[in-house]
């Protein structure tokens, strides 16, 4: 036996030694960082001409109108001579609309940047959520990364000095014309406080998202219930389904869906000023009419059985599964679910509407492209952002079930996708973007999940629930 053990250890030691060799060559494509903040704006200027020259042919006329198509051959020579690598990280799944559009963007980038390769890494939301601050602060940071919006994420990184200020670049490339003001809210952060909405442009988004009512058309037809377009009709439909022993709404209390119900109900009583005050951490009355309505109404929903009490421990995936299995006829869901529903080829007719009764719904610009401050390939990163914002990539995203902000809507073929885009455009046009409840404070998401679970379980009254969620918010204001 000891012979076998000895042999095994020898083998393992050999593997180790070989591995140690491999280990040395493993990581870190980019070198030591430490480019201090001010240089962020000056460095790109030098390589500007080269970048625009190589992307000019790919862009349709409209987008390049603001970027001067200049200095061709001489500039391209410099980019071709070095073997440069664009380190790109994002976490959108490859089979989703964004994944498809961005994969196409990668292909185009490679075609227009000879001599440059892309080192692409697919991560997950949770990975980025937990480790992005550490990665951004190291030499392992990529050149372009998808980060989460909000004061707790992009805002914090901005304050920490980890992100490149893209304000000047955005003006140069005309991004500020593509991104509408309400979309830009999620891109701008104050470098001293991290509060969203004003300040420098630290992120660029190329898509939007919003929350709406999805419904199972067949179930409505089967029971002869009218699809709701007003609040009264919504409750009438819910009651009608309840009478047939069907739980009207699918939701999930273990993740974001439940808190979104609370917030959406609250928004039905809110105006733009309230949203602004809440989101920009200016302070609101948690026991005021808006949130009180949201909390008490949600508690009523659970009591009446509009949502199942078992949903408390369900995740978003469970909620989707229930809707897809035809268990619940209605769903308050995000536009990010649309692509999945389409791909799943559901066995029933389904459609969507803006949430009845709300002038303002949950929604925002999408996740942000951000450039770590220490990147040595900022020009390449800017080019890539350009491509994702270009009309044909945006239209591709639209046709794949996504929600682009700069697509050629006439080219979107699928009627349901067209409707999705129209609903979003309507929301933007009527200034109906309400953002999300967990944005104002870092780590607020988990507090809201916990508190909402207690509200649903009945272990906290609506008033106690409001006190609980007010605590972290007010603590953040004091800082």
């Amino acid at each position: 036996m000891s012979k076998m053990f000895r042999l095994f250890s020898l083998v393992l030691i050999a593997v180790m030694l070989i591995g140690l060799g491999a280990c040395q060559s493993a990581p870190t494509p980019t070198q030591a960082p430490a480019a201090p903040q001010p240089s962020a704006t000056t460095a790109p200027a030098a390589v500007q001409p080269a970048a625009t020259a190589t992307t000019a042919p790919a862009q349709p006329a409209a987008a390049t109108a603001t970027t001067a198509p200049t200095q061709p051959a001489a500039a391209t020579a410099t980019t071709a001579s070095q073997a440069r690598v664009l380190n790109l990280w994002y976490y959108e799944p490859p089979d989703g609309a964004l994944g498809k559009a961005w994969a196409a963007a990668q292909t185009q980038f490679l075609a227009t940047h000879p001599g440059v390769t892309i080192h692409f890494e697919l991560h997950t939301f949770e990975q980025i959520q937990q480790t992005s601050q550490m990665v951004l602060n190291s030499s392992s940071a990529p050149d372009l990364i998808e980060i989460n919006k909000g004061a707790g994420n992009a805002g914090t990184f901005a304050v920490d000095g980890l992100l490149t200020d893209m304000t000047a670049e955005a003006t140069k490339r005309g991004w500020d014309k593509i991104l509408s003001p309400s979309i830009q809210t999620t891109c701008r952060y104050d470098p001293k406080t991290g509060i969203m909405g004003s300040g420098n442009l630290y992120g660029v988004t190329d898509y939007g998202e919003f929350v709406m009512l999805y419904f199972n058309q067949d179930m409505f037809t089967k029971y002869g219930i009218k699809v709701p377009t007003t609040v009264d009709e919504l409750y009438a439909a819910a009651d009608a389904f309840l009478a047939k022993s069907i739980t009207p709404f699918a939701t999930g209390g273990a993740e974001y869906p439940a808190q979104q119900i609370f917030y959406m109900l609250a928004l039905s009583k809110a105006d733009r000023t309230f949203v602004t005050n809440y989101q920009l951490l200016k302070g609101i009355d948690f026991h005021g009419p808006e949130f009180t309505y949201g909390a008490t109404e949600m508690a009523t929903w659970v009591q009446k059985g509009y949502v199942s009490k078992n949903a408390v421990s369900m995740k978003a995936q469970d909620m989707q599964n229930d809707f897809e299995a035809g268990k619940n006829p209605m769903l308050m869901g995000g536009s990010w679910l649309f692509g999945g529903f389409q791909t799943a080829k559901l066995p029933f007719k389904w459609d969507m509407e803006l949430w009845p009764g709300n002038k303002i719904s949950l929604g925002s610009g999408g996740n942000l492209w951000a450039i770590p401050a220490g990147s040595k390939n900022k020009d390449l990163a800017y080019d890539f952002i350009d491509i994702t914002l270009s009309k044909d990539k945006q239209t591709l995203m639209g046709n794949s079930g996504g929600l682009p902000i700069n697509a050629d809507t006439t080219k979107i073929t699928d009627p349901q996708t067209q409707k999705l885009n129209q609903l979003f455009a309507q929301l933007v046009a009527t200034d109906g973007i309400g953002f999300y409840p967990d944005w104002p404070v870092a780590g607020y998401y988990q507090d809201l999940v916990s508190a909402t679970q207690e509200l649903m379980n009945g272990t906290k009254t609506p008033s106690a629930f409001l006190d609980e969620i007010a605590a972290p918010y007010n603590a953040a204001i004091k800082k």
Binding site: T156, V159, D160, G161, G253, K309, N310, G443, Q453
Partner: protein
């Protein structure tokens, strides 16, 4: 002779050099750094700001922390007491009864089987147990309804009155193999002649168990109790995956609370304070255990 024996012992400190160096760098210095950070307010990137004892004052009055601590103590039942006792019984049973009646192979098979849960990464534990405990179509409720005991079907992980209990069941399941393996190796050390001699003297199984076996494997028992206690006080992964500390804070534990502060709310200073509190409790317990153990060893060598 005395000189020779002395030379066995002198110079052994040399062997400690790699260990001590490594520990200093990887553990001690970060530990001291952690203490330092607990007196500051820090977001992780920009320089920390000294705030003295504020974090500690906050900790004393933090009801969420004390709730998580209470949950942790309750978990000790599931992760130390039950596994040790049941593990000891199972190990003895396998080692004596099963080996004698069915052979070494069978008892090894069972030992391996019992240990398997320990092999699972916490991510898999979370996924699978969430299925099993699913209120609508999970196995547990399915069985209860099937045998007519529908009233026993609960929303195990979503109902705050059952969530901690459900986590405890999962942890017993997870933990039980570890004592079994350690104790079976320990039982190996017992000289069978001792037990034979006792049998000849007329001792029953129970008497042999209590007076000989338990006494002889005392070191391992102490190790198991100590290590499982420390593991419980640091438990994080499974709670994170199963319930994220919810619903509400029903299954929150100090380690998870510290994690929240470090990585979700970016309050590194306060997170360090919470971690330190956990560490102090663990240190006190360990010193206590080691003193007991050393005293026993000294008593034995006399």
């Amino acid at each position: 002779m005395k000189h020779k024996i002395a030379s066995i012992y002198i110079g052994d400190t040399v062997f400690l050099i790699p260990g001590i160096t490594a520990f200093l760098i990887i553990i001690i210095i970060p530990f001291i750094t952690n203490i330092g950070i607990s007196f500051t307010k820090w977001g992780g990137v920009l320089p920390p700001v000294w705030i003295g004892l504020s974090n500690y004052q906050r900790l004393l009055g933090d009801s969420v922390f004390w709730l998580s601590f209470k949950n942790n103590v309750i978990l000790l039942l599931a992760m130390t007491v039950i596994p040790t006792i049941v593990g000891l019984l199972l190990a003895t049973f396998l080692f004596d009864y099963v080996t004698n009646n069915f052979g070494q192979g069978v008892s090894s098979f069972f030992r391996a089987g019992f240990y398997l849960p320990q092999i699972l990464p916490s991510a898999v534990i979370g996924i699978v147990w969430a299925w099993i405990l699913q209120p609508d179509w999970g196995v547990v409720n399915f069985v209860f309804r099937g045998i007519g005991l529908s009233s026993l079907a609960h929303n195990w992980l979503g109902d705050p009155s059952t969530a901690l209990f459900a986590v405890m069941v999962v942890m017993v399941w997870f933990q039980i193999g570890y004592p079994v393996v350690i104790f079976m190796a320990a039982l190996q050390r017992i000289d069978p002649e001792l037990l034979e001699a006792a049998s000849i003297d007329g001792a029953s199984w129970l008497q042999k168990f209590f007076y000989i076996t338990l006494h002889l494997i005392r070191p391992e028992i102490l190790v198991v109790v100590l290590t499982t206690t420390i593991y419980t006080l640091k438990i994080f992964g499974q709670v994170y995956v199963l319930t994220r500390g919810g619903p509400g804070n029903a299954t929150s534990v100090p380690s998870y609370y510290a994690y929240k502060n470090f990585f979700e709310t970016q309050q590194v200073g306060y997170g360090s304070t919470v971690s330190l509190a956990i560490a102090v409790i663990i240190i006190l317990l360990t010193v206590l255990f080691i003193n007991i153990q050393t005293r026993q060893e000294n008593a034995e060598s006399v």
